[in-house]
C-alpha cells in the first residue's frame, strides 16, 4: 500500500507557482501493476520521481511500507560523468554491498554493451542507457516490491525488449510495476489497474480499461 497524504507539488515558474498536484489523498494498492496515464507535461514523471524518493512533495507526504525502486527512466539514476561500471558500483555501495564485483558482472552481462561499459554514461545512446539502467535493477535480484518504470521500453531494440519482458514476467509474482508509457499495448501487457492524472490530482481505476477510457475521454480528441 502506498498512501498519499495531502500531497502538493508545484514548480516555481516565471508566472508563479504552477501546481502539478494539489492536496492529493489516495491509497494505491501494491498487489497489482499500475499504469499511469496522462498527456505530456501533466506530471507523470514527477509522480514517479516522488514515488521513488528522487523528489519530494512541497507539502504532505507519501508513505509506504513496501520497497520501492528508484525511478527507472532515461533521465534519472545514471550519472553522466561516471562510466556504466562506476554507476553500478555506486548503486551497489549505497545499498550497503561491500563486494560490488558480482553486481557489476551481472549488469555487464545483461546490458550487452561490451567495452562501452567502461566509458562515461554521457557517451551512451539512449538505448544503451536504458540497458544499463534496467540491468542495474535486475542485478539486485528484484529486491523490490514495486518497480518504477518511466518510458524505459520506448528506446530499446527488439532484442532488449524481449529480454526485459521475459525477466519482468518471470518476477511477476513478487514485483509489481508502476509504469508510465504512451503505448497502450505495452500497458495492457503488464498492468491490471490504472491511474489517470487529471485536474492536479490522481484518479485510480482498479480496471485498466476504465482508466484508458477515462484518459481517452478526457484527453484524446475523438474526431
Amino acid at each position: 500500500m502506498i498512501r498519499f497524504e495531502n500531497v502538493s507539488k508545484y514548480y516555481p515558474t516565471k508566472q508563479g507557482r504552477r501546481y502539478v498536484f494539489k492536496d492529493v489523498n489516495i491509497e494505491l494498492p501494491t498487489d497489482v501493476s499500475i499504469a499511469i496515464l496522462g498527456p505530456n507535461g501533466v506530471g507523470k514523471s514527477t509522480l514517479v520521481r516522488m514515488l521513488g524518493g528522487a523528489d519530494y512533495p512541497n507539502k504532505g507526504q507519501i508513505v509506504s511500507d513496501k520497497k520501492i525502486s528508484w525511478p527507472l527512466g532515461l533521465q534519472g539514476g545514471l550519472q553522466g560523468s561516471m562510466s556504466g561500471r562506476e554507476n553500478c558500483r555506486f548503486v551497489a555501495r549505497i545499498h550497503g554491498y561491500k563486494n560490488t564485483e558480482e553486481i557489476e558482472q551481472k549488469v555487464y552481462d545483461f546490458a550487452e554493451i561490451g567495452a562501452y561499459f567502461d566509458e562515461p554514461v554521457k557517451s551512451y545512446s539512449s538505448g544503451m542507457r536504458s540497458r544499463v539502467a534496467f540491468g542495474l535493477t535486475m542485478a539486485f535480484d528484484f529486491d523490490f516490491d514495486v518497480l518504477l518504470i518511466d518510458e524505459l521500453g520506448a528506446v530499446g531494440d527488439a532484442n532488449f525488449r524481449h529480454k526485459s519482458q521475459a525477466l519482468l514476467k518471470s518476477k511477476f509474482e513478487t514485483t509489481k510495476l508502476i509504469m508510465v508509457s504512451h503505448s497502450m499495448g505495452e500497458l495492457r501487457k503488464y498492468c491490471q489497474s490504472g491511474i489517470v492524472v487529471k485536474n492536479q490530482t490522481l484518479m485510480f481505476f482498479p480496471q485498466l480499461e476504465d482508466a484508458i477510457q477515462e484518459y481517452e475521454e478526457t484527453y484524446v480528441a475523438t474526431n
Partner: protein, 250 residues
Amino acid sequence: MRDTVHALLMRELKTRFGSSRLGYFWAIVEPAAQASILAILFTIIGRNSLAGVPVALFLISGVMPFKAFSKTKTQLSNGISSNTALFAYRQVSPIDPILTRLIIELATFFVVYIIILSVMAWLGLDVWPQDLLGLLMASLLLILLAAGIGLCMNSAVLYWKDANKLMGIVTTPLFLISGVLFSATMIPAKYWYLFTWNPIFHAIELSRDAFFASYTTPVGSWGYLALVSFSFVTLGLMLYRINRIRFVTL
C-alpha cells in the same frame, strides 16, 4: 548515510584526483611549489627571515591554510550541483556530497601539510609547531568557514546562476590581503584596521602564533574567527534547510 558517504567518497576521490593517481601528486606539489617560488623571490630580494621565522616556513604556514580555504570553498560550492543525477536514489540527499567533499578536503589538507613539513624537516628546518593544538584549531576554524561559505553558495546559485563567478572575483584578491605574504607585525599598527575585518587574516595570524615560538600575533582573535565561521555555517545550514526541495527538483 554511512554507505552513501562511502560510495560518494570513492566516486569523488576519482574525480578529484583523477584515475591516474597523478592528482595526489599535484595536491602536494601545488602548495609546495607556490611556497617555494615565493620563498625564492623573497630570498632574491635579500630576506632570509620574516618576522623572525625562516622564509620558507613562514610562507608555507600562510599558503597552506589559504589553499585549504579556497579549495574547500570551491569544492563545496559545486558539491550539490555536480551530483544532481545521483539524488534519484532515495539514499542520497543533497547534504551527502557536501559532507563527502568536506572530509576529502580536511584529509587532503592534513596529509599534504604533514608531507610538506616532513620534507622541510628533512632539509634541516625546525618544523615542529610550538602549539600543535592551536595550529589545528585555527586550521579547523578556517576550513569550517570555507565550508559555511561553500554551503551558502549552493543555495545562492539556485537564485542567481552566476553567483560563483562573483565569488571567484571577490576571493581572488584575498590572497594578497589575507596575510599569506606578511604578518601583522610587518605593517604599521594604524593600518591594521584594513585587514582585521578579514577572518582569513585572523586564521593565518593565529596559525603562525601557534606555530612559531618567536611570533606573537598582535591582532589575531579566536573569538572573531570562531564567530564568523559559525555564523557562516549556521547561515549555510539554514539556507540548505529552506532550499532542500529545490536542490532535488529538476
